[in-house]
Symmetry: C3
Subunit: 275 residues, 3 copies
């Protein structure tokens, strides 16, 4: 019996070495029926938070799968590996918070297991490559024929390491948050949701007052960056449902000097509706 048709795979391994391929090979040997969907392997080395964001925003569009994620600066130390059942999927990786936002997005952890059953690992385990030697083989066994409970000792889902939720606060007609992440295009994604924006009266067609650092910007708020002229700044609810700031055809993160974590607040300017 095969249990999962798909594996997904996210790491900070990069693409210039053979690390990702070695894991693909291990997966193929154990679960030849499975297809591996690479989420990304370009998470900046050790950036757990960035890995958690990308995983959480991507998994909702993937089929039911064993999702393997490895951004693991503590590999080989006391941090444990875990398998977490959530929704119709299983998440496998280090218990350092990397999985936590995706697990929440999938409906929350139903059960969790510490990866203590070495029968599902490769016979030799390198202390610095658990992706190849533990996480992927366990995932492939779970995709092929092993029951989740075979992964190891069951643990309390409340004991899983969880990243603090991205900060945001709506009060007095203002939504305060921070830069959650910056994508390839330089679009600046805030922790503030499109729903937050609506709640404080920021509507497509209007103007939004943005505070970031000492800077104050009045930006058009539109449904898409393409609604403003090329080279112009714009705010909009993005494809993950979060307020983003972009430059149409340009790079807003560079233009504004806004890295992840920078504090940003927004407020509506109701009188400037442009229908």
């Amino acid at each position: 019996m095969t249990r999962f048709r798909y594996l997904s795979f996210l790491t900070d391994y990069g693409l210039e070495d053979g690390f990702v391929a070695a894991c693909h090979g291990v997966g193929a040997r154990i679960a030849p029926h499975a297809t591996i969907i690479d989420v990304t392997h370009l998470i900046p080395p050790g950036d757990i938070r960035r890995g958690a964001i990308v995983l959480a925003q991507t998994v909702p569009y993937l089929p039911p799968a064993v999702h393997v994620a490895v951004v693991d600066p503590g590999v080989g130390t006391a941090r444990r590996g875990v398998a977490v059942a959530a929704g119709d999927s299983v998440f496998i990786g280090p218990d350092n918070g990397l999985l936590s936002w995706a697990v929440t997005a999938a409906g929350g952890a139903a059960r969790a297991f510490s990866l203590t059953n070495s029968k599902l690992w490769l016979s030799q385990v390198a202390a610095t490559f658990h992706g190849r030697d533990i996480f992927m083989p366990v995932a492939a066994h779970l995709a092929a024929d092993a029951e989740l409970a075979a992964a190891g000792e069951e643990i309390d889902v409340g004991d899983l390491v969880t990243l603090s939720a991205p900060g945001r606060l709506v009060r007095d007609g203002t939504a305060e948050g921070e830069v959650l992440t910056v994508d390839r295009f330089g679009n600046v994604q805030l922790t503030i949701t499109g729903a937050d924006a609506a709640e404080i009266g920021v509507k497509a067609g209007g103007t939004v007052l943005v505070h970031c650092g000492r800077r104050q910007l009045m930006l058009p708020y539109r449904e898409m960056f393409g609604a403003v002229a090329s080279g112009e700044l714009v705010a909009y609810p993005d494809s993950a449902g979060l307020v983003s700031i972009a430059v149409n055809g340009g790079n807003a993160a560079q233009r504004l000097g806004l890295p992840p974590g920078a504090l940003v607040s927004i407020a509506a300017i109701p009188q400037t509706i442009n229908p």
Copy 2:
């Protein structure tokens, strides 16, 4: 019934976010039988012309497929999405010219449809991510069981947006053109074809006179860059049938300062044959 075994996928989404994976996931959910071949996701953001070149030069080597291409600076605006039947394949993407050269290479557009049937889309469509929410789901439905005509309203193939053909002119023993593109190795691919070169008497073993800007170069014309010494400039008919300029073991685009669009002409120097 399944209609296509393969999807191909070209974008400017980059590899550091989860955008490509989200599209793979959407495709896998709708058409689990299909294999997705990634053409590239590193088209410079918004560079439609570069996307069109890579697509047109790659598709002839791919199996019959639904080819999805998304370089879409106008996403969410009035530009329409289209599905175009050409040869034994279907091309899907924004109607901004991106598909046009590949469609021509595949034998020209037989039929075209505007993607107006929202039943083939995801149930929620983000204004800025039609790759995930419209183009890939439509493609996957066409690969699985939907007829092409289900994609939407049929349109006149003559109304499709087409990029102007790369400029080249053969006259008076000279072939005039421009730099079409530069590849990873720094090889400078011209719009001038190997057949153009032959027509004006440029033959492997001979010497070619190259004008670019104010510069005039006499280069060996060979069958391959490896025919000259390491570090030497050479012109040759490349693997796409176009005249290219390379440095054996080096980067010709950097050496010569020749970006895409730079004007270049070539002529034969018949007396310098080295058989």
Copy 3:
């Protein structure tokens, strides 16, 4: 009859052009049953040695396959293409040493053939793209139904081009070697093995004396980089069984200025055991 379920693919083609995809397409047309595992396509252009290292360290984790590797600065010149049977796999690529370390890792060459049978090639062969026109089609035919001997003329395995083994020497309580490669994380992998280190008394928990250039370092030798504080240098036996130098959470190659080929020696300092 299908002979191989998997192909693997390593090149220096990069990911920004359609070169890799064209090869995938050629493989899919000839061997639609086969899955292609990409090892990496980011070998620096023409860096045969780097390609050989990555291939040799990755192949042991891949399933039995036809392994296609193309780092081929001499494409189109007199260098021949070869198919080499080793272990349960076949290796295909230019006979320039690229395959040699992986073939050794797979148990050594059992038989070898020069790729002289043009019936297994594409009907048109570009002088500069043998990956697409010769290596991948031959590999796909071998994966599908062709016998290895159909690839071409058998050659003496002793005539295959072989890269010189990475230099290392153990004597007088010192292991001398060089930097074999540097990975994405900046970890500096030496040619010295973990077994060499053990032989000269370097043990996990101890301290190792490292000479590189005029510099002399006393580093903790641990089972993993995570055993030292963040930002600290450490030596450890890595996931390929070789001694590596890392900075926990940092980039050792940058910190120490150690590129591939740099001479390094190590020795034990027995009195500083920290159990």
